[in-house]
Amino acid sequence: MDFADLIQILAATVRLSVPLIFTALAGLYAERSGIFDIGLEGKMLFAAFSAASVATVTGSAWLGLFAGILTGVLLSLLHGFASITQRGNQIISGVAINFIASGLTILLGNAWFGQGGRTPQLPNSARFTEITLPFAADIAPIPVLGPIYSGLISGQNILVYLAFLAVPFTWWVLYRTRFGLRVRAVGENPGAVDTAGISVAWLRYRALICCGILAGFAGTYLSVAQSASFIREMSAGKGYIALAALVFAKWKPLNVLLTCLLFGFLDAASIRLQGIILPGIGEVPVQLIQALPYILTVILLAGFIGKAIPPKAGGVPYVKER
């Protein structure tokens, strides 16, 4: 494998890790505030649908993004209503959201566009397309740096850059702002937050809104940037992978970035490793390579990080009075 191949794989890694980064960060806000969110998959899917639908109708990618975010936030509020206000089981609420998203997107899509739940193909004008950074072509011939700049850094769409910015931004919010301090506190001991005179419920709702916004970005990226229409079930398990990444990253923003890049890399590699012949073993079954990210997730969860300690108050509704 030469350097150019490497750049290509890395570029694919970046593209494939973006939805994971957005989604895992979304989960980070929710779970740091003490709300488990297994419904990320559904939020991403529904956001992808809304974004593509609105982009189709209005011809504007930005309005699509807005719709995606709105959808993510609304579903988050539903999750919040169930798990904060009604103190329901958070995992069950998340599973429900996944079902609803998977049914309703196709149902509505079919009713509106009559294409079996697909939205019409978006023209490039209604998508987030690749942005070529200044001097990309000029620098390209320079060895090493050139390909990195022109092949990896330049030529991505705006949401990719936003995803990479969202990581330090989240770190900053979490560790440098009042809101972040409170979110971290409420995920550990809601009683401390409550007795400090802060509303636990409203704080968690706000964290979930952040979660919804990021899930909206993830969905929009899928349908309006990475591809050009909504397809049924297009989230294809990424929400779950992002969740695994979050656990693997021990709920820390910078770790999230690294983990998502790792998973993105595995995915990229699995795409490129198809049909390769390993000496002595023969052709590696394509199914094995495709299952590799899942297998690795299990191995990583089991082996390298051992017990990841989640936010202490995570998953349990805050009940003051029995």
Binding site: F99, L104, G116, G117, Y294, I295
Partner: protein, 375 residues
Amino acid sequence: MSVPLGTLPRWVNFGLLPLLNVAVAFALSGLVVLFIGENPIEAVKYLVQGALGDGEGIAFTLYYATNFIFTGLAVAVAFHGGLFNIGGEGQVYLGGLGVAFGALALDRIMPWYITAVVATAGAFAFGALWAFIPAWLQAKRGSHIVITTIMFNFIAAALMVYLLVNVIKQPGNMSPQTRLFEEGGQLPKLGWLMQLFGLDIGAAPFNVSFLIALIAAFAVWLLIWRTRFGYEIRTMGTNATAAVYAGIPYVKTVVVTMLISGGLAGMMALNPVMGDAGKLQIDFPAGAGFVGIAVALMGRSHPVGIIIASILFGVLYQGGAALAFDMPNISREVIILIQGLVILFAGALEHMFRPALIALFAPKPKAAAPAARAA
């Protein structure tokens, strides 16, 4: 805004409340139907007619219900142990392998009831096997079982396709499936049972695995409430520290509970593979593993509740097909939506109507507090 512990009469707690939750889920689905521009009343008519209108419809409903009883029981057993098994789908898939091995080996030389015993054992074993690793990792390494079972669903799909495409596919056949099982590998239909009620089974694949499901439900009831191991499962599920105190071995209990759970899921494969298609084919679980979650929730993890909830979902499936048949604008996904809403209202929002019901039905506080105080 307190949600006091239940002091509701049993019939409200286990009857009215779930019914109310489901009713709301349906009402909302009705709104969606309306939004799409169809008449919800008509829709309900088609749905009920299709599912319960004649013998064949009923038999189909029960056929689907059979699947959900198995997966619902699987989820429930794990639930009792405080474990959330989302891996039913993958366990069912692997269970199919066990059924297929049994049927392919014996269908030409044995009567169906011998084959069925072997296939059931195989289904249970393979389903259990697929639950084993997540269980072991949870017990030993603390890897979150929700995540590992989800991962194992994906891995199961890949593995099964590999096996079906490359290993056990019937040569010369276009689709990745095994050869058709012969008579000794097919479960008999339950026409006679329908006959007892004066109904005609028609062409519905309603078969003996329904009875096996009922037996399994009874066995689960026995296990959970009447055996020592069930007692240990429940202790672990409701109070983990008390379980440690009581000397209940955590690793063993988690693993065995999940083996039973996975095995029950695996047994579901009997119904579609040996009872209907007579072959192992790709994607045969078709989401039944996930429906099991909804069923267990609605049935409050009690076998009787699960049977009732399974029949309800059977009605939804069969009726939903009839609905999509007659109302082309409503695609089959409406069923997934209704499932989601049922899970939401019967599961996550199960307490929403409780305060109102308590106001209506609960005995007044004074009467509720046990009269006697400590000596």
